[in-house]
């Protein structure tokens, strides 16, 4: 952003003078702006940052930097801090950054950008969007939840009513409905209605208290499996499940395998709907390094493993083998197109 800072970043001189160390000049700098959930949200932002870390681990010449957004109003300011700051690519994480990223990209046509969860129409030459068919992964989770529910009621809630969130919820509901029509069950989904696009939303991506309260409400309505789609908000739901016991309430994680990212409550996660932002981010960094970068879209699907279902964790032995086999069959069906996720 600043010319002075540019010099600092390029040579490390000013910092070296004061700090007494010499910064290693890196050949490629990947910068990331997180959404309000923060870099350590055990899901969304953390997974995207893992992509940068993976790239760094694979190639010593890559340096990664990140900047956390504390409020929605920080997006533009954060982008400004990174622009001209020696970033070879700026990766913005989240649909809500769509406007800010577009503005910055149009003002700085030489700067490469990539945004997670936003597809521009028409595409912008210096922005590569990364989107995911998460409804495919969530469809499997819905099928699983319907097969596992004892009360016949499962629930979901979201952070904010935006497409990358509701895609999970759509898939989940369709997966439950598919189980109902295939197996003759009558499992209900609370919290989301795909037809009217209305449902339960916390209105934020950072309040763990909300996550707890919303899961409690769904549990009170009879749900024994809940899928929170709201980044770290879901950690609050997991705490509740750990307190009242997984016989009563199980959680389906999203974005990352939450048994790994939330080890404290690892045994409440029935599974997680994976959204492999780490793999697409690494891919984008490779493309930018290899001069293959162009504006457009990368789509993660079940087929290219951009989305998927995590292992069953603590429930590995509780999930019937038959159900596991059915899920594999449904997955194959979605990939070959014989099962459509939307109805």
């Amino acid at each position: 952003m600043t010319f002075l800072n540019k010099i600092t970043a390029r040579t490390g001189l000013a910092a070296a003078l004061l700090a007494g160390t010499v910064m290693s000049a890196s050949a490629f700098t990947a910068c990331q702006v997180t959404d309000t959930g923060g870099i350590d949200d055990a899901g969304f932002n953390q997974t995207a940052w893992k992509g940068v870390q993976d790239a760094m681990a694979a190639n010593e010449e890559i340096e990664g930097r990140f900047l956390e957004s504390q409020a929605e109003t920080d997006y533009e300011a954060n982008l400004n801090s990174l622009i001209e700051g020696g970033c070879d690519i700026i990766i913005t994480v989240g649909f809500l950054m769509g406007d800010a990223t577009k503005t910055a990209a149009e003002a700085n046509p030489e700067q490469k950008f990539s945004i997670v969860d936003f597809a521009y129409d028409p595409t912008i030459d210096n922005v590569l969007g990364q989107v995911y068919a998460t409804d495919q992964g969530a469809f499997l989770a819905g099928y699983l939840a319907a097969g596992m529910s004892e009360t016949g009621v499962v629930g979901t809630f979201g952070g904010i009513n935006i497409p990358p969130v509701t895609a999970f919820m759509d898939g989940f509901v369709h997966g439950v409905n598919y189980h109902n029509s295939e197996k003759g069950t009558d499992v209900q989904v609370l919290g989301w209605n795909p037809e009217s696009s209305e449902g339960l939303f916390t209105g934020n991506f950072d309040s763990l208290d909300d996550g707890r309260a919303f899961a409690q409400n769904l549990y009170d309505e009879g749900a024994d499996i809940v899928m929170p789609v709201a980044g770290p908000v879901g950690l609050g739901s997991a705490t509740l499940a750990a307190e009242i016991g997984t016989d009563e309430l199980k959680i389906i994680g999203v974005d990352a395998d939450q048994t790994q990212t939330d080890p404290e409550n690892a045994d409440v996660y029935l599974t997680s709907v994976l959204k492999r932002m780490d793999s697409t981010v690494t891919q984008v960094i490779d493309m930018a390094m290899g001069d293959e970068f162009e504006g457009g879209l990368i789509v993660g699907t079940l087929e290219n493993q951009g989305v998927g279902l995590a292992p069953y964790g603590a429930f590995e032995s509780d999930v019937p083998e038959e159900l596991k086999a059915e899920i594999e069959a449904v997955k194959a069906g979605i990939i070959d197109g014989s099962i459509t996720v939307g109805e």
Partner: protein, 383 residues
């Protein structure tokens, strides 16, 4: 009789407490040295906290360099610092004015939200107006709505005695949810979006960018002039006008104000409304200068940070101006700190909080830096 005496001494103590936060043109030490040392001590504590969280010393050095570079080290750093300072100073002026009138207004956040939202609505619905009318009108509507919203707490206090701390906190909560709900109404919500986000404010109601001829990334906008005008106006209002005299007298000695024939209830409502107008203007400036649209939580805690700004500025318009620029600089520099040194931006919040702790405890600062103060002040404290 003794009860009466006790009450008198309590009152005197209260007054000297109030005087410390508001008054004292003669008290250079409280006005300048304490805040200065508070900032220094807070930065030192910030470094200690970084050490405690296993950040190595070179990184700490790098982070302070980044803090300086990112806040004042270049033109674009100044642009970001001032951009962040504009709403802080505007809202801080209102809060400082309230403090001087003896009102502890916690509601700037809500007033700012309501003012900003009104500015958005005025922005997109009056787009047939030419800019010379549209922009000032949009700002005025923002200020008026902020004033109205704050006046609710003022009227409640004046008529029923409801404490403004409680009522403004409650009004904040109401404003958050009201905003959330309004942003989902079809006449405000942006077409094609299902999340709560407003339509965009057209260019005719946007505060012009000042430095976009240098680089489109410079966000500094004409709100900075609005801010300076407001500083001058509030200084005049407080120290040169009859209304301001009434505000200050009521704050310092309500009984004296009463005997002098000032209507206490009117002063309360007026002071709250003026404070709200400034907070509303802060919201409107943020919307028309920076954001161009409203989304949930677009206030981003500015209304709360402004309380700190007003305290740090000792409720003096010029002090608030400098305090606001300092906080704006911490915000802009904090970002650079995270980018360059990887130190969490949350540290800036801690440093801001520490500054306030030390400001609120001048005795602590005096104890740490005894050589920074004259003897006499020590005697005063001891007494």
């Amino acid at each position: 009789m003794s009860e009466h005496k006790d009450l008198k001494s309590v009152n005197e103590k209260m007054r000297s407490l109030m005087a410390r936060t508001t008054h004292g043109r003669d008290d250079f030490e409280d006005l300048v040295i304490v805040p200065l040392f508070a900032v220094v001590v807070a930065l030192v504590f910030g470094a200690l906290i970084m050490l405690a969280t296993a950040v190595d010393i070179p990184t700490i050095g790098r982070s302070f360099v980044a803090l300086a570079v990112g806040s004042v080290g270049s033109l674009s750093a100044w642009s970001e610092t001032l951009t962040a300072a504009v709403p802080l100073v505007l809202a801080g002026l209102g809060l400082g004015l309230g403090f001087r009138a003896g009102l502890f207004n916690i509601g700037a956040e809500g007033q700012l939200l309501m003012g900003g939202l009104a500015a958005v609505i005025a922005g997109f619905s009056l787009d047939f107006l030419p800019m010379v009318i549209h922009l000032p009108l949009t700002l005025l509507i923002g200020a008026a709505v902020g004033a109205g919203y704050a006046a609710i707490a003022g009227i409640l206090k004046a008529t029923t005695g409801a404490h403004e701390v409680i009522s403004t906190i409650m009004l904040n909560l109401i404003s958050f949810e009201l905003l959330n709900w309004l942003l989902r109404q079809p006449w405000i919500q942006r077409e094609g979006r299902s999340d709560p986000i407003s339509k965009s404010v057209p260019d005719s109601a946007r505060l012009p960018q000042l430095l976009d001829w240098i680089s489109p990334n410079f966000r500094l906008h004409a709100g900075v002039f609005v801010m300076l005008l407001a500083v001058a106006f509030i200084w005049w209002l407080l120290f040169r006008s009859k209304v301001g005299f009434a505000f200050r007298t009521s704050g310092e000695n309500p009984s004296a104000a009463n005997y002098a024939g000032m209507k206490a209830s009117l002063v309360i409502v007026l002071a709250m409304a003026t404070a709200g107008a400034l907070a509303g203007l802060a919201g409107a400036a943020q919307i028309t200068g920076v954001l161009g649209r409203a989304s949930p939580g677009f206030s981003a805690g500015i209304g709360f940070d402004a309380i700190a700004v007003a305290l740090l500025g000792r409720s003096h318009p010029v002090g608030i101006l400098f305090a606001g620029i300092l906080f704006g600089g911490l915000e802009a520099g904090g970002r650079q700190m995270q980018v360059d040194a990887g130190v969490s931006i949350d540290l800036i919040g801690i440093i801001q909080a520490l500054i306030i702790v030390f400001i609120a405890a001048p005795l602590l600062v005096r104890a740490i830096f005894p050589w920074g103060f004259r003897r006499s002040s020590k005697k005063e404290d001891a007494a």
